[in-house]
């Protein structure tokens, strides 16, 4: 390989790497702003420590081990907010889940970093999660209609929804 071609390949690799590693992505709403919107102000965060049992269940829901050992969340009276991240195809999707008495009140995609599949942020898709609760096997009590071309992102949002409901249940002891 000559040096010019090698430089081109290196440049291409760096550009693709930079594009795929672009941490900020498309920010639709800052997570802190989402929490503030839900509660009217930002309450102090609480922590759910992921015990071995919770880690095992979270791994079963996600299909991989959870990335960290504690999960921050915000709650007041009956309502809790979970900001979760999960990989769609290659990059993390950040979504906020509001859970009220074991049911999802509403979902919002806050940051989307993938190059395709942004349709998961649309209200028509996310409304399907409203009022969903956990059924047997930590599955949702309903089927979520997919979006052609965004299958992996749809799967990621669904896994996060199940995890938010499971974490909410665990946070109540």
């Amino acid at each position: 390989m000559d040096s010019r071609a090698r430089r081109s390949l290196a440049l291409l690799t760096l550009v693709l790497g930079a594009a795929s590693g672009y941490a900020r992505g498309e920010v639709y709403q800052e997570p802190a702003a989402f929490v503030a919107e839900v509660f009217g102000s930002t309450p102090a965060p609480k922590v759910l420590w992921l015990t071995r049992e919770i880690q095992a269940q979270a791994a079963a829901i996600l299909g991989h081990a959870p990335a960290q050992l504690r999960q921050r969340y915000w709650s007041e009276t009956r309502k809790s907010v979970w900001i979760l991240e999960e990989t769609g195809k290659e990059e993390l999707i950040t979504a906020g889940f509001v859970v009220v008495e074991g049911r999802i009140d509403h979902v919002r995609v806050l940051v989307y970093r993938e190059s395709r599949g942004q349709e998961v942020r649309q209200g028509v898709f996310l409304k399907q999660f409203n009022d969903a609760k956990l059924a047997q096997g930590n599955r949702l009590d309903r089927d979520i209609d997919g979006i052609v071309g965004a299958t992996l992102s749809v799967g990621a949002v669904e896994r996060m929804a199940r995890l938010a409901l499971y974490f909410d249940r665990m946070s109540h002891g």
Binding site: M1, D2, S3, R4, A5, R6, R7, S8, L9, A10, L12, T13, L16, G17, S20, G21, E30, P31, A32, A44, P45, V47, A67, Q68, L69, R70, R72, I83, K89, E90, L152
Partner: protein, 248 residues
């Protein structure tokens, strides 16, 4: 011999020749295409190949580690988006660390926009991004009175659990500072922290021919032309005798 029969024989001969000559390449393209189509299932984007010859081939010059952060019994060396914390390698695409602090029950590494909170055994407890920090960019990380302390443009903040933050006094803080590595340490760490190429990137470059340089994509284009020729000649060879039989 009629011209049509000559054409038929010519096409059949060249259909077989091109097919035989390109069989290895077609199988290779089919295999790489199949794997790429299921890249998420195989976690190709999170798997990396670390090999000096591959970096040379890509023309990538690895960054040599020069500095280490030390706190108590813990140390951190970083280069090429990889961290070596207490001899344990992180994943890829990690930010440049600013410092390392050991607290009674955790070890915290700061970058300019995030904190990584680890157990004493190196397991990641939490990653705090800009939304969970009192202010960014973080300029320095330190400790004082068993509190984690961050210095930012907006002031100095402290926390005991990396969750709740309050203003901190500027004095009596031991700020984390890098230490220069010796030549022997640099050499040893350079090998451990060698950058990698993701398997997905490698397969994409193989599939498209880019790995072979400027002429690689042209070679793959040529294979595409061969495939088109094979499809057309194959279809013609399949249909032509049938037409003849139908006429009889």
């Amino acid at each position: 011999m009629s011209p049509k029969l000559l054409l038929f024989r010519f096409l059949r001969r060249w259909h077989a020749r091109i097919g035989f000559a390109a069989v290895v390449f077609f199988l290779f393209l089919a295999a790489t295409g199949f794997v790429l189509n299921h890249s998420a299932d195989f976690d190709l984007n999170t798997r990396y190949v670390h090999a000096a010859w591959l970096l040379r081939w890509y023309g990538l010059a690895p960054e040599s580690p020069r500095l280490a952060f030390r706190s108590g019994r813990h140390d951190l060396v970083a280069a090429n988006g990889r961290w070596l914390l207490d001899g344990r390698l992180s994943g890829e695409k990690f930010p440049q660390p600013l410092g390392l602090v050991e607290l009674p029950d955790m070890v915290v590494v700061a970058s300019s926009t995030s904190l990584y909170v680890y157990n004493k055994d190196g397991t990641l407890i939490d990653r705090l991004d800009r939304n969970a920090l009192p202010a960014v960019p973080v300029q320095a990380i330190g400790s004082g009175a068993q509190q984690l302390v961050l210095r930012t443009d907006l002031g100095t903040f402290e926390s005991s659990d990396a969750l709740s933050w309050g203003p901190a006094p500027r004095d009596a803080v031991a700020w984390s500072a890098p230490a220069e590595l010796s030549a022997a340490e640099r050499e040893r760490y350079a090998e451990l922290l060698e950058p990698g190429i993701s398997v997905q990137q490698l397969l994409l470059d193989l599939h498209s021919g880019r790995l072979a340089g400027r002429y690689g994509p042209l070679a793959v284009d040529l294979l595409a032309v061969f495939l088109a020729v094979l499809s057309l000649s194959g279809a013609w060879l399949f249909l032509k005798p049938r037409h003849r039989r139908e006429r009889h």
